[in-house]
Structures are given as C-alpha cells and as structure tokens.
C-alpha cells in the first residue's frame, strides 16, 4: 500500500534520514521503534509532505506522494495523528471532528462516522460542545485519533499516541488501535512504548540514527536480544 524507497531527508545540511526503505501492507499494523532522534517522526512528516526530502520515493498505491501537496493527501485518505496531538484548542470537540472530515462531502456518511467515533470514544460524545483545549491530555489524544478517523483513512499514521498518557489510557489507546485496524484501516505506528507496540504490530522496523537497522514481525523483534537490550529494558523482558 505504502512504499518508501531510499528516502534521504536533511535539516539544513544535517541528514536526519540516510536512505530508508520500508513497506506497509494493506490492512496491517506496522510499527517503527527507535531511540530519540532516530528519525521516526521525520519519516512520517516526509510521507505527509510536511518536510521535503533530498531524494527518494514515496509511493501510495503506486502513486507518487512526493508530487502531492499535503492538503491533497487527505483526499487520498492518508492521515496523520501528529506528535503532540495538535488538536485545535479553540474549536469545540465537535468542530475538531468535523474538520477531520473537511475533504468529504457525503454528509450522511459523515454522520455515520461521527457515531462510529463516538462509540469508540464515548467520552468525546459527552464533551462534544467543550473547547478542545480544555480537555485533559488523554481526552485530547482520543480526539486527535478520532479526528483522524473522520477522514475515513485507508492509511493512518500515528506518531507516539501514548506520549504523556496515564497507564490506564495507554492501555485504552492500544486497544483502540487494534480495534480500528480490525475495521480495515492500515496503520503505521511510531511508539516509544515498544513492548506494547510490537505486541500488536504485524511487522516492526527498528531505526537507528536515520537508518533502518532491523525489521521483522512483532513477535520476532520482541524476542530479539538486541532489541531487548536496546529498547525494551530488562525488567519487562525478564
């Protein structure tokens, strides 16, 4: 579904991505793990057209994404849940969700999807008239995911959705990711919480300083001693 080939990205001379290639199959959950600064966010941002690469290709169902403007990707049903939530603080919860469906005209279907999102996150329904900026961190994260779902994504990219969430909510988020995926959405997930991420992932890639150094199924990586040592910590794996 999504194919990244030899992608090189630099921020003012410093290469953040040094030629990575990866493949996302339809209907799967793919996860990227790696240390701080490895280039995970940069990868997603480049796919989304928010950063211009030096070289490389990004193909979505055979279509060259680098030629598209960011705002056109929503029409192709590609969506990003950005690092740090980035909900619109002075729009209401309802407006935030509606803006997720900005590119869609099918009012009836939008209504149906609203109901779907509310069924996934009942708390959002309760708060639909509240300004999003006044929600708690976890609620905001749910809103960010809900908003992304409103565009009816085929490919949903999520950048550290569990960042800063209470343990209870972290579990909740992962449950929801699995649920969305079961409804047919392809997911590309970045997570620091590598344990949880690899457990739900069909396939994982390990990044280190701008390169992909390892890949495999979630289980394989979980069991890999190097991955354990570098990312999973000793207690859990023990």
């Amino acid at each position: 579904m999504l194919k990244i080939e030899d992608l090189v990205v630099a921020y003012g001379g410093i290469e953040a991505l040094k030629g990575i290639s990866l493949h996302v199959e339809a209907g799967k959950i793919i996860t990227l793990v790696g240390a701080n600064g490895a280039g995970k966010s940069t990868t997603l941002r480049t796919v989304m057209g928010l950063v211009k690469p030096v070289s490389g290709r990004v193909l979505f169902q055979g279509r060259d994404l680098l030629a598209e403007k960011t705002h056109q990707l929503a029409k192709l049903h590609i969506t990003l849940v950005p690092e740090g939530r980035r909900i619109f603080p002075k729009l209401t919860v309802m407006e935030n969700l509606r803006i997720g469906a900005f590119c869609r005209q099918d009012e009836k279907e939008i209504q149906r999807d609203l109901e779907w999102v509310f069924s996934l996150f009942p708390i959002l329904k309760e708060r639909s008239w509240q300004l999003a900026g006044t929600l708690s961190g976890g609620e905001q994260q749910m809103l960010a995911v809900g908003r992304a779902l409103m565009s009816r994504p085929q490919l949903l990219m999520m950048d550290e959705p569990s960042l800063g969430l209470a343990p209870l909510l972290v579990k909740e988020i992962f449950r929801i990711i699995k649920e969305i995926n079961q409804q047919g959405v392809t997911i590309l997930l970045i997570e620091q919480n590598a344990n949880a991420a690899l457990q739900i992932a069909d396939r994982g890639y390990v990044m280190e300083t701008g390169r992909i150094v390892l890949s495999g199924t979630g289980r394989e990586l979980l069991a890999n001693p190097e991955v354990k040592a570098a990312y999973l910590g000793k207690k859990r794996s023990g």
Binding site: M48, G49, L50, K69, T70, H71, Q72, L73, A74, K75, T79, L80, P82, R86, F88, P89, K90, L91, E95, R98, I99, G100, F102, C103, R147, S151
Partner: protein, 297 residues
C-alpha cells in the same frame, strides 16, 4: 440648547464611531486569522476610494454599478498583496512579515503618488447619501443612519461566516495551527487568500462609506484611519469582531467628546486614541473582549 448641543455631538460621535467600527472589523478579522498586523489595510482602503473615483468620474459608470465593482476589485487587490508580500513569508519570523507589510503599505502609497499624483481628488459621493436631515435643531447627514446599518450587517455576516460555515471553520483552524490544518486537507493558501480578500472587501465597504462622509481622497488618506481603526480593534480585543465594533464606537464617540468638552485639548486628539488604548491595555492587557492568553505551562 445645551442638550441639543450634546445630542449634536453624540450624533457626530456615533457617525464617526460606526465608521471606525466598520473598518476595524476587517482589520481584526485578518489579524484574528493570521496573527498579522496588516499595515497595508489602510492603503487597500485608500485604493478602494480611488477605484470608485475612476469608475464614477473617469469612466462615468453610475455609482450603483461602480460600488459593487469596487468591492470586487479591492478584494482582488487584497488577494494580490497577500500573494506577493505575505505568502512567501509563511514560515518566516513574525517581524519579517511585519516589515513586509510595512513595505507593502509604503509601496501602495508611493505607487499611488506616482500614478495618480499627490493632489487630493474629490470623492464622487451620490447626493442621495450625503443630504442632511434636520431633527429638531440637530443636523444629521443621511449617511449617519446608513453607516451603522452597514456596520451591523457586516458584523452579523462575518460572525455567521466565521462561526457557522465550513470555510469559517477552516479559517479558524488555520489561525491555530497551519501545519495540522494542512494535514486535515485544508488548502491554507486558499483559505488565507480568501481571508484577505474578505478583509479587503470590508476595507472597500469602509472606504466607500468614508469617502462619502469625507469626500476627499489622496494617497496617504489610509494612514490615519488605518492606525485609528487598528487601535479600535486592539481596544476591543484584537481578533474579536464584536470587540472591534465596541472599540470603534468608544474611540469615535470618545474623540468627539474630548474635542467637544475639552476644546483646549484638541491638539491631543490623536494622542487621545493612544492614551485610551494604553489605559485599557493596562487594565485589560488583551483588550475589552480579548481572550486571556494566560499560557498553560
């Protein structure tokens, strides 16, 4: 007599205040969406009056056709200014954009001087609007009744557009987070261009009203109204459309009353606007209806 005098002053004040309010609305809307003090707003306002002049005087087009035409042309001009002076600076530091705005303002002024000369021209105001009616001993221009109506219509229209339509929602989203707005599929260039066009449209409405009230146009005529209406917008809480209207009235009526009751201080009239501004900012640092921006740390 004394009461009549007061009524006359009040009518003068309302007339000026509603005009300030009308121009301030456009100013504040552009600021609210883009967080940019559009210094060229006053000059776009000036250009609108020149368009009207050429339409009616040079090409003899009747005013009821010229005026709508002016609105469209001015909106187009605003979009042009945005595309050349602001769009390339989307991600630049704020101060650069401000300088570009000042540059655009100087450019429009000087270009007008070169093209049309620095000599003031009469604004062709239709008699229909400038006639005077006598209410008791108070003389009121018909315009004084029309301007507040136009102001209120613009206000309501704008509030509806921004709060109730999809375009308005996109405008607000762009004002908060351009990058995420793009991710949501919003074409921010179009949205911002639309915002500018709309702001310039409102500037043109204000310009036509202003020209009819003060029938004299010249290349620098936008500077002082631009500044005053910006002050009005800040007093009301910049970015807040209702606030701009309140600020416009406070400023207009306040100025008139200052000159009326403290004639010795007339020389301080321009300072008055600023003194009022500073006093209000000291009491409410974000203006009367401005939202508190207490940062959440």
């Amino acid at each position: 007599m004394a009461f009549d005098l007061f009524l006359q002053h009040l009518s003068n004040g309302i007339s000026l205040g509603s005009l300030y309010a009308l121009i301030a609305i456009g100013y504040t809307m552009v600021y609210g969406i883009l967080r940019l003090i559009n210094f060229a707003h006053g000059d776009i306002f000036m250009m609108a009056t020149y368009f009207a002049f050429f339409g009616i005087v040079t090409f003899h087009i009747p005013w009821y056709i010229t005026f709508p035409l002016v609105l469209v042309l001015t909106a187009a001009l605003g979009i042009g200014v945005e595309a050349t002076a602001y769009r390339p600076l989307r991600e630049a530091p704020k101060i650069s954009i401000l300088i570009s705005a000042i540059g655009a303002s100087f450019f429009l002024e000087n270009l007008t001087i070169v093209l049309f000369g620095g000599v003031p021209k009469p604004f062709p105001a239709p008699k229909l609007f400038t006639d005077v009616v006598q209410v008791g001993s108070v003389s009121i221009q018909k315009l004084t009744f029309y301007i507040p109506v136009v102001t209120v219509i613009s206000l309501l229209g704008l509030v509806y557009l921004i709060n109730k339509t999809k375009t308005g929602m996109a405008m607000r989203a762009v004002s908060m987070d351009q990058e995420t707005a793009r991710v949501m599929g919003i074409n921010i260039n179009h949205t911002i261009a639309f915002t500018f066009g709309l702001g310039s449209f409102l500037a043109a409405v204000g310009g036509i009203m202003w020209g009819m009230k003060f029938p004299q146009i010249q290349p620098l005529m936008g500077v002082i109204p631009g500044l005053k209406c910006f002050i009005a917008a800040v007093i009301g809480g910049i970015g807040n459309i209702g606030g701009a209207v309140i600020g416009g009235f406070i400023l207009g009526i306040g100025e008139i009353m200052l000159v009326a009751f403290l004639p010795n201080l007339t020389g301080y009239r321009d300072a008055f606007a600023f003194i009022l501004l500073i006093l209000i900012l000291l009491y409410k640092p974000t203006g009367i209806l401005g939202e508190k921006t207490a940062e959440k740390v």
